[in-house]
Chain length 683, copies 2
């Protein structure tokens, strides 16, 4: 058996596509036959998945038969066109589909997609229904993804390492070459398609020497092999490119985006890429950021840089995903006027309307960098004339690095539901990034993945919930958290109500627990530099990264008000400006992000800032103790391997949460001299 | 030309063996001829060095002639025996020598050593006299090194890296192999012999996998080649060994020092080493320290471990240098009773008298780890029955990493002159480690070197002064700092009084300047973890390393008193105990090492602790500005290459000293809330 074949037998590797045996589904006639009205590569994948899933669930592999007339009970796969249900066209968007079941005269289950991709999504949806014990006989579902681009970004390097990866090495690369065993990549594509992902960039946005060569003749044949697998699952492949490629590999002496030679090079290069990969998605670009090259070198702006690439991609329907994570990373900590939080807005807002139609700005959810708590980036909704994509981080860089349990769906929902007031009340972020608010040509959501080559894909098995939930949530940002969690737990661990209730509760509380024992009240950044794990209150305080808390003997926080601070609050539309500008209306959880207040400042919760710090840090650890106990209560309900793996991580989490508690409390006690009202142990 | 030949032409590579042309010595007859009364490998080296030096100084290479009768003016090289001056034997110790010059009937300069090593030392001494413009015609000098073992430790790894190295890579190893070009090693041996070094361990005390194999048949032939070069310059080669070698390479399942098989393995292994290297020096051992294996694993003590090796080395006159840097590096920062400073004494003092005669304990100068300021280790003088060697650190791990100028001779003199009171007043450290206080069989001084394969050997060219000064000082701990500095500056930069006075002053002040802008009042450790460069007040505060300052809103420092602290003061003899125990008598520069005091505590200097912190940090930067100006005043007096190189380092030092100043001042201002009396800028 190959390594992948061995892995494929384990529950941790199967993730939510476990297809557990269901005795009550053993003898359903309709599950024994599949009728295919149109054959494409993608529909072939759908058939394969249905066969695999139904065999596993019922013990019988369905047979593919020709039966257009409906003489047999069967599952019927078709596109709108092949099934002649053209009226459906009005109800479905490009990736939409319909699930319908009829019991008479024969039991027929129709999985009908607008295109073959819809068929594949419908197949996964149907299997999910079987897995989660929902009634498959009364199906009458029309499903359309609300988000157009549903992207995953890898931060994989060709040496096999993953920047901010906590689950092993890359599944694509090792030793500066492609991994030539594609079994795992196919399983990865299945997982991603099952949650609706339709675009994946496979390499790190920090494009170093080796990865710069991904767009050369030497490596494009290997890139194409991965793209071929992705294509079977409705996923377009993207590459992160080095902005200075013309210099690094193009033999030119410049990367000036207005230089005709540079433009010509990119035009030819892009055409070459499409010779290898006809449905190539496009480029992801981190330029002029954290020492990456970019148009600033040539006194050009980001529109110049992005449009140059956009022009080259336009004939092929390719897109440029241009990241807005641009800020001064060589700031002087002594300078309190410069505010990193303002950087993305300041750089990009003035360029609204100047970008080509196939250029999309990718904006991190918050203005800083994936902290456990940040406000929503004010750039959302601020550029009516520019395509926008939201960027989340599934990999838990600042949220416990898959050693700590931190379910991020609640955080992401809060972001998506945030009202920007860009066009008055109801201008939520989700309406910005689903393109409805401003009718963007392109829009969507992207995220840095948390997977690697460990057997569980995500290191912490419970972190699979973040990956699953990400896909489901961006398919439909209105899905309730509880629905997503229910689906995931049931597919991953089975239907036992004790498991469901316990794990669901653990997940639901985990973000807030993690926040409690780490950086308080939105201030962020109290981590060890570089690797970003573990408490270090002053870790970034005297650094050039623009990430400060300004704690002194009297108080803490960053004054970002218009009145007497950095003026960051002005970047919001008036309703939000008003809310954040005043310490009276600023929500507690962000008070230190927006205001510098004394430790004795009384929060809306009724406690002082210092007492809040003490309370939450003691509570946080108690909460982790409860998480651990909850999990221990599942001993015997979950297979031993996954039980022990998760037990081990929670044990580490408990130990490390105590480190957080004691260091944070001690730091603030030593600095403020204010005693804990409850006289708990502080060192 | 080979790389080494190219380097050999540069002043920075020649260091203090530049042998600058002296017009006034051009026509001295005695310098044109050399008479050799006894021929050994070492005397051959002496002749070679005299030829090289005199050719360079006078333009004429001296000729070796046979002239026992004294018919020619000449330099005469002889041992006591070959010259029949046996009465000299009473005046010379093993490495001693006499320099005598006669002008009649012929000008004869006698370089007479007790052994051939003495002849070599005399030759270097004579060349130094020529270089430093001292009168060579009136010589009547008897010179005996006061220290028996004059050691250099390398922390070189076989992959070429150097732990705590700031001057490039290893001159011995690269890519896990020996470097087969020995030209540089020979030049290194020349430099070391010129300052009297007689033992060098070539590999890191942290012995990893590759270096464990240095004592195998595969690598011993290569080790022997290095030893052969060293031997020509009177230097014995030592190896750091892996305490668990019996397991790693010996095929045994244990490293228990009392296990007969283990003992037998070491006996055979040692005999094997001596087959390759007849004058092999012995083993340097870091055991049970910072995750290194050791006898504790087998419930044995350090005497058991060291004696096992000592027994194996005894028949060959080899020695064991057993390091006392043993402490708990997984301490809980919350625990204020455990005190890392106490560890060496607690571990080793009870074993006094239990070590074999060829085992030597190597003790770091202070109880912590080479901080810019520490008290002297209380272990010195505390073990009358046990050979002791003092360990200094020439490489500037905590003293600016050869980016900052920090001349360490003043620090080392302070250590050597420290009175332990072990046998009443006058029981200085230098008398302990020269073996006179307790008549140790073996004693001496060791240091971690600061060299690497950069062209200047030491990165910062002025750091060559630390290497030179180390050798000269341990040869004779009574040598005044000024004498050492004069010698070094003149040999390195020539005799111009402006250079001498300027550089001498720069060096003299530099340690105290570095101390001013870094960690105050002996508290230490306010550096970034791991690499130990740059300010980070809390860098080690919540770590497991036992390195804390306990600063809070009221005060700072570690209470190490017997009265109500960790009791570390009790490890000193009564006179020093009294001095350190009371905050009234504790010297200012160590007050925070021994006491936790309020920021408002008034020092003997008359300022408060907090004001002292502010003052010294502002002054320190001003002092660096002056250092830079001083150096700039030498523009035109020093060759351009060395001028610019040093200028660049001083510029970096100035920039980084401002980082220190502002971060330290800001940290304490933010914590204490106490204003600077002079209202200077604190952030």
């Amino acid at each position: 058996m190959t390594l992948v074949e061995t892995l494929q037998k384990t529950d941790e590797y199967k993730c939510w596509l476990r297809y557990e045996r269901k005795k009550d589904l053993a003898n359903i006639e309709a599950l024994k036959k599949i009728v295919v009205l149109e054959k494409t590569e993608i529909i072939k994948s759908a058939v394969e998945e249905l066969k695999r899933g139904i065999l596993s669930i019922t013990g019988i592999e369905p047979e593919v038969i020709a039966d257009r007339e409906g003489n047999n009970s069967a599952i019927v796969l078709a596109t709108v066109d092949s099934s002649n249900m053209t009226t459906l066209n009005r109800s479905l968007n490009n990736d939409g589909y319909m699930l319908q079941s009829f019991t008479k005269p024969k039991e027929r289950i129709y999985l009908t997609g607008k295109t073959d991709k819809g068929v594949l999504y419908a197949a996964f949806h149907f299997l999910r229904i079987l897995q989660t014990n929902r009634d498959y006989q009364q199906l009458d579902i029309i499903e359309n993804p609300k988000t157009q681009l549903r992207m995953i970004n890898h931060w994989d390097n060709m040496d096999g390492s993953i920047e901010r990866g906590y689950a092993g090495h890359s599944i694509f690369f090792e030793n500066n070459q492609f991994i030539l065993d594609y079994g795992r990549i196919k399983d990865y594509a299945r997982l991603m398609a099952s949650i609706g992902i339709n675009g994946i960039s496979i390499n790190n946005v920090n494009v170093h020497k080796a990865e710069t060569n991904l767009i050369t003749k030497e490596l494009l044949p290997d890139v194409a092999k991965v793209a071929n697998i992705f294509r079977q699952y409705g996923i377009r492949l993207f590459l992160s490119i080095n902005y200075a490629s013309t210099i690094e590999i193009g033999g030119l002496s410049t990367a000036d985006p207005l230089d005709p030679q540079v433009r010509e090079w990119w035009t030819k290069k892009t055409a070459e890429i499409y010779q290898y990969i006809e449905d190539f998605g496009g480029f992801v670009v981190k330029a002029d950021s954290e020492h990456r090259p970019g148009p600033f070198t040539y006194n050009r702006n980001h529109a110049d840089g992005a449009n140059m690439l956009g022009e080259a991609l336009l004939p092929f329907d390719g897109i440029v995903i241009w990241r807005c994570f641009v800020y001064d990373c060589l700031q002087d900590w002594r300078d309190r006027t410069t505010d990193r939080a303002k950087a993305a807005y300041d750089h990009f807002k003035p360029l609204d309307g100047q970008f080509l139609e196939n250029v999309i700005l990718q904006i991190k959810n918050g203005p800083m960098d994936f902290q456990v708590r940040e406000p929503v980036s004010p750039l959302f909704g601020a550029m009516p004339e520019t395509n926008q994509v939201l960027e989340f981080q599934i990999t838990q860089e600042y949220t416990g690095q898959q050693k700590h349990l931190c379910y991020l769906i609640p955080q992401w929902k809060k972001v998506l539901d945030f009202d920007t007031y860009a066009k008055g009340e109801g201008s939520t972020v989700k309406k910005v990034v689903d393109g409805t608010l401003f009718h963007y040509k392109y829009s969507g959501i992207s995220a840095v993945t948390n997977i690697g080559n460990e057997s569980s894909w995500t290191g912490h098995i419970l972190a699979q919930a973040n990956l699953y939930g990400y896909g489901r949530l961006i398919w439909n940002p209105d899905l309730p958290e509880a629905t997503i969690t229910d689906e995931w737990v049931t597919q991953t661990f089975g239907k036992h109500p004790k498991i469901l209730n316990t794990v669901k509760e653990m997940l639901a509380d985990s973000w807030s627990i993690y926040e409690k024992y780490t950086a308080p009240l939105g201030v962020g950044w109290m981590v060890n530099p570089n690797h970003h794990y573990g408490p270090n209150v002053d870790g970034y305080e005297y650094s050039p990264w623009g990430t400060y808390h300004f704690a002194d003997w009297k108080g803490i926080g960053v004054n970002r008000t218009k009145k007497d601070g950095t003026g960051y609050t002005e970047q919001y539309f008036p309703e939000n400006f008003d809310m954040y500008e005043s310490v009276e209306t600023c929500p507690d959880e962000l008070v230190l992000f927006f205001h510098h207040v004394p430790y004795t400042h009384v929060l809306k919760s009724g406690t002082t800032v210092i007492q809040h710090i003490y309370n939450t840090h003691f509570e946080g650890v108690e909460d982790v103790e409860n998480l651990l106990e909850s999990w221990i209560s599942l001993n015997g309900f979950v297979d031993e391997k996954r039980y022990n793996d998760i037990l081990q991580r929670l044990t580490i989490q408990l130990e490390h949460s105590k480190e957080w508690r004691d260091i944070i409390n001690t730091y603030f006690y030593r600095k403020s001299g204010i005693n804990d009202e409850l006289n708990r142990v502080i060192y």
